[in-house]
């Protein structure tokens, strides 16, 4: 796959059906190294399913996915290995509720990467500092605000040293005043050159940070392109309507 140099993620013709409901009907896209892609679309159109297919938390019925030339969807691929290279951030954080912030970030380093404890602690603290939470290292998830929990979960994913970060509606479960701190971390991450796929309706973030917006509806990509093109001159009436609706809901500029 060296022909695809510079392509971190390649998704090809992904299909997924739950019962009779065709959630994904042939999704294909590529993400170049260092790029940030934002996926938007009405709820129930398979955005989360698509993200979960990328790290095989959900197994697609058909289609193939490559990360840096390794085929994730190949049955013989060691998925636990691949997943270390793909960070995932969930809508409801999913921090390990019996572990402190530090241990949440550290446990993957110790149990998965087999790092010695001292080294893992140092590394984990570095990532907590990166999201501005080194002073909360000893706090348990229930003692943190939603925004802080989400930042810890970003640190947990980053600590594994991923090539790609997936964000599944990372701010949808947050109170409005906590959204800004999470978006700031994500923006810094994008600017530092991380490759990211973000499912989000934060259009301010999309406009100022991402390279491309992908609009999905009913399991297919309706339209994709740079934010300025999609916002100013969408090719499809449906894209225009949807963007208009969420801009009205979420506002145009980024929340600070």
């Amino acid at each position: 796959m060296s022909v695809n140099q510079g392509i971190t993620l390649k998704v090809e013709n992904i299909h997924k059906t739950y019962g009779r409901e065709k959630v994904l009907q042939g999704i294909s896209f590529e993400v170049k190294k260092g790029e940030t892609k934002v996926i938007i679309g009405p709820s129930g159109t398979g955005k989360s399913t698509l993200l979960r297919c990328v790290n095989r938390l959900t197994i697609p019925d058909a289609g193939r996915i490559w990360l840096d030339g390794t085929e994730i969807t190949h049955p013989r691929t060691d998925i636990n290995k691949v997943r270390q290279s793909i960070g995932m951030v969930f809508q409801d954080f999913n921090l390990f509720s019996h572990l402190s912030a530090l241990d949440n970030v550290r446990i993957g380093l110790i149990k998965v990467k087999k790092m010695v404890k001292g080294e893992a602690t140092e590394e984990a603290m570095r990532h907590l500092a990166r999201v501005g939470l080194e002073d909360k290292a000893a706090a348990y998830p229930a003692e943190l605000s939603g925004g802080q929990q989400q930042r810890v979960s970003i640190a947990r994913a980053l600590a594994m040293g991923p090539k790609l970060m997936l964000f599944d509606e990372p701010t949808s479960a947050l109170d409005p005043e906590l959204i800004g701190e999470v978006l700031k971390v994500m923006r810094d991450l994008a600017e530092s050159g991380m490759t990211m796929v973000v499912v989000s309706h934060e259009m301010g973030f999309a406009r100022s940070v991402c390279n491309e917006i992908v609009f999905i509806e009913n399991g297919v990509i309706v339209e994709q392109g740079p934010p300025e093109v999609l916002f100013e001159d969408p090719q499809h009436q449906r894209t225009r309507q949807f963007l208009f609706k969420i801009t009205e809901l979420y506002g145009k500029s980024e929340r600070k």
């Binding site: 995932m88 999913n94 509720s97």
Partner: protein, 222 residues
């Protein structure tokens, strides 16, 4: 002989029986604990045969009387040349029985843990087994303490049934003494009191454990 003289007289023998009762309880609750976790995991995460076996086991031991189980082990097995001492048969019977109940408590605790915990652990590359050991069980074991305390108290009290297979525990000692001096009322009053004290100590101890391992925000979702 008044009540206090009598108590003083019979206490040494009863305390000897109490030691046996506590040994019986400790051994069988431990056996039930290990087996109970295995059964709960088997039922929830095992493949079809394992899951079916776990369900069947739980059904059988919860669906038949403890005394019948003890009689099968103690009086039944010698037919196949397996001769267990009454103490061992007692541990085995109480333990196998308790395992079924503990499995159900563990299953409830595990199922109350959000699916997101498993997903998040798998997403950082943790295997299923490691996730169960490092994420699911540590949470489940904390959540289960209140209901598990009940099981320990039950086991402590139901160990008295082992006197029916001649295990020399507290109940058997009481029966033995009362059969000699015919003061059933006083003797069993003392026996009851000893059980009560043991139960109170055990539940207090578990309260302390529960507080010690408590983590903010982690409890059984009601």
């Amino acid at each position: 002989m008044n009540f206090f003289e009598l108590t003083y007289d019979i206490l040494p023998a009863l305390l000897k029986g109490t030691v046996v009762t506590l040994e019986l309880t400790a051994c069988s609750i431990s056996l039930g604990f290990v087996l109970g976790i295995a059964l709960a995991l088997g039922r929830l995460y095992g493949n079809r045969p394992i899951s079916a076996f776990s369900s069947g086991y739980i059904q059988f031991f919860r669906g038949t009387p403890l005394l019948v189980q003890l009689f099968i082990l103690y009086y039944g097995l010698p037919r196949y040349d397996i001769r267990l001492s009454s103490f061992v048969a007692g541990i085995l019977g109480l333990g196998l029985n308790s395992a079924a109940y503990q499995a159900e408590y563990f299953r409830g605790a595990i199922q109350s843990i959000s699916r997101g915990q498993m997903m998040a652990a798998r997403a950082i590359g943790m295997s299923r087994f490691k996730t169960i050991m490092n994420i699911i069980l540590p949470q489940a074991l904390r959540i289960v303490i209140p209901s598990w305390s009940n099981e320990l108290i039950y086991t402590l009290k139901y160990s008295s049934v082992a006197y029916m297979i001649a295990a020399p525990e507290l109940m058997a000692q009481g029966k033995f003494i009362a059969a000699e001096n015919f003061r059933y009322f006083e003797v069993f009053l003392v026996v009851a009191f000893i059980y009560l004290v043991a139960v109170l100590i055990v539940s207090r101890a578990l309260n302390v454990v529960e507080k010690r391992v408590r983590i903010p925000g982690l409890q059984m979702a009601q």
